[in-house]
Amino acid sequence: MRAFLENLDRRWIFLLVLIAVSTPILLKLTFPEAPSKQVRTVFSAIDDLDDGSRVLIALDYDPSSKGELEPMASAFTRQCALKKHKLYFMTLWPQGTPMVNQAIDILKNEFPDYEYGTDYVNLGYQTGGEAVIKKLASDLHGTFNVDANNEILKNIPMTQNLKNVRDMDLIVNVSAGDPGTKQWVLFISTPHNIKTVAGVTGVTAPTLYAYIPRQLSGILGAIKAAAEYEYLLIQNYPELKENPKAKEGLRRMGPQLVAHVLIIVLIIIGNIIFFTGRRQGTSV
């Protein structure tokens, strides 16, 4: 048995992962969520703002992390729209513009009263990464001379009187890496003391805890936090209860649980093989 497991073709493990992730999806397994303190802090940062506050939503990610981050971006957009905040969308990733368009589709489909130019605007994308963020701190119109629809910012009601990003009441960043939350902390939230919250991938989340709470008010780390956030949002805004699109993160926690348990079992089996082998002097 030990010899079989020791020489196990890794494709059997791949098959197990495939079954572990696909079965809960097909069986529509979901589990109850209990929002953590960190998630509640992020939620309050948006909810405690006066209605109609200016919120910059920077969606700095692309399809390679959409599975993790889209539920966060959607939840932030819905919450801000329910609070009637003025939304300024932008991205620092070239493949991020469709991510912004998807968030805007939520506004178009679920909040038909939200009007482009007075309630939300799509600033689009700029090359340069951290240099764009740095420039935004002093000159919005110099950085984005036109929006994503090629309309000049001075002709758009909600941008014409804005000088720079310091006029924002909150920055919400959904990020998959560089440029992303770290750069917003380095160039905006720390030097200019602007309240910032973020939704980030599992890979980057642990690295950003060092900035909490002074430089970052809070973060949502990976899909679990997204699910907790969706749960909290539905609790506070029951009108979302019947909206299946507002439960993407919650839905994804089923495969998450089974896959995590599988990986733990694999590690345990791997260690049993290792220790039994060491006792018999055959394993390294």
């Binding site: 696909s22 493949q95 036109v146 780390g221």
Partner: protein
């Protein structure tokens, strides 16, 4: 014929049969759009199409109450099948390197490079560089909104010649000779990055981090004794954790005696940090896989309907 080849042929035939049967039964993989007619002030008309749910199309669901014109879109239906094929082609790498994976990989490389180029071209080179150097041409062809009410054009800004020249020098890197000219724009890049980072890393990642670690080790507030003890333990853990980890990174002293013992605690703290990172990384990767499988089961195979787009579940 090898046994593995035979197995593969059987798998492919069975899968093909299943797909053909399911397509005939359910119409899986179809995409629908809502057509909207746009009428310009000049009287010209054209149609734009937006993604729509199948349940709103009469051809799919005769009982629909939707008044919008929702119809089947062939380009998008082909797109869904193309996306499914590419997804499976990438997954095929799990079996081993094969021509389908290599083909998908080659497409990915080409499309990614061109995608970034197109986005950079329209957003920066046209909207910024060309607009400021050739305003009349750009406004008359691409950005009509920028024409003044009196028919005036934005002013030419000659300072934009600098990035144009530096840009041409950068592209000299592709030339067989004279590649050294690209060192100038490269030096500009390096210098600007160094200048940006020097101060901001000092402020946000050095000073602010030290500042955030200067906290009371014994917390005495108006909270309950238990809460004060808990806050004190938290602060002590944080301060000791940072200090010991920093000692581990300090290589100017030999790690012997007291330094060795402190740095060993630092390693443990770092191991906890890496363990947490591993857990979070697993979580992230599984979420990405779940999303891809959801695409196959939902958009393509129509086995699940989590967003209630076809009224067969949700």
């Amino acid at each position: 014929m090898k046994q593995s080849t035979l197995i593969w042929i059987v798998i492919v035939v069975l899968s093909g049969g299943f797909l053909a049967w399911r397509t005939a039964q359910t119409g899986m993989g179809r995409a629908y759009v809502e057509a909207e007619t746009v009428i310009a002030e000049s009287g010209e008309t054209w149609t734009i199409e937006k993604t729509a749910d199948a349940k709103n199309a009469r051809s799919f669901n005769p009982t629909t109450e939707s008044e919008a014109i929702v119809k089947l879109s062939w380009p998008r239906t082909i797109g869904v099948w193309c996306a499914a094929a590419l997804t499976i082609a990438i997954f095929s790498f799990l079996w081993g390197d094969n021509p389908f994976y290599k083909l998908a990989e080659a497409i990915f490389v080409g499309v990614s490079a061109a995608y970034a180029m197109v986005v950079g071209f329209w957003t920066m080179i046209v909207n910024k560089l060309f607009l400021h150097l050739f305003p009349q041409f750009v406004v008359d062809n691409i950005l009509p909104n920028l024409k003044g009410a009196d028919g005036s054009y934005p002013d030419v800004k000659y300072l934009y010649l600098v990035p144009l020249v530096l840009g041409v020098m950068l592209l000299m890197r592709l030339a067989p000779q004279g590649g050294w000219i690209s060192r100038w724009p490269l030096a500009f890049f390096i210098g600007a990055t160094a200048g940006l980072r020097l101060v901001h890393y000092f402020q946000a990642d050095f000073v602010s981090q030290i500042q955030a670690t200067i906290i009371p080790l014994v917390v005495l507030t108006e909270q309950t004794t238990m809460e004060n003890v808990s806050a004190s333990i938290r602060n002590i853990t944080l301060v000791v954790g940072v200090m010991t980890s920093l000692v581990y990174f300090f290589f100017s002293w030999e790690h012997v005696g007291v330094v060795h013992r402190i740095s060993r605690v630092g390693i443990w703290v770092l191991m906890i940090t890496f363990g947490a990172s591993f857990g979070y990384t697993v979580m992230g990767r599984v979420a990405l896989l779940a999303q891809r499988l959801e695409f196959l089961f939902d958009d393509w195979l129509w086995i699940i309907d989590p967003a209630s787009r076809r009224l067969i579940g949700g």
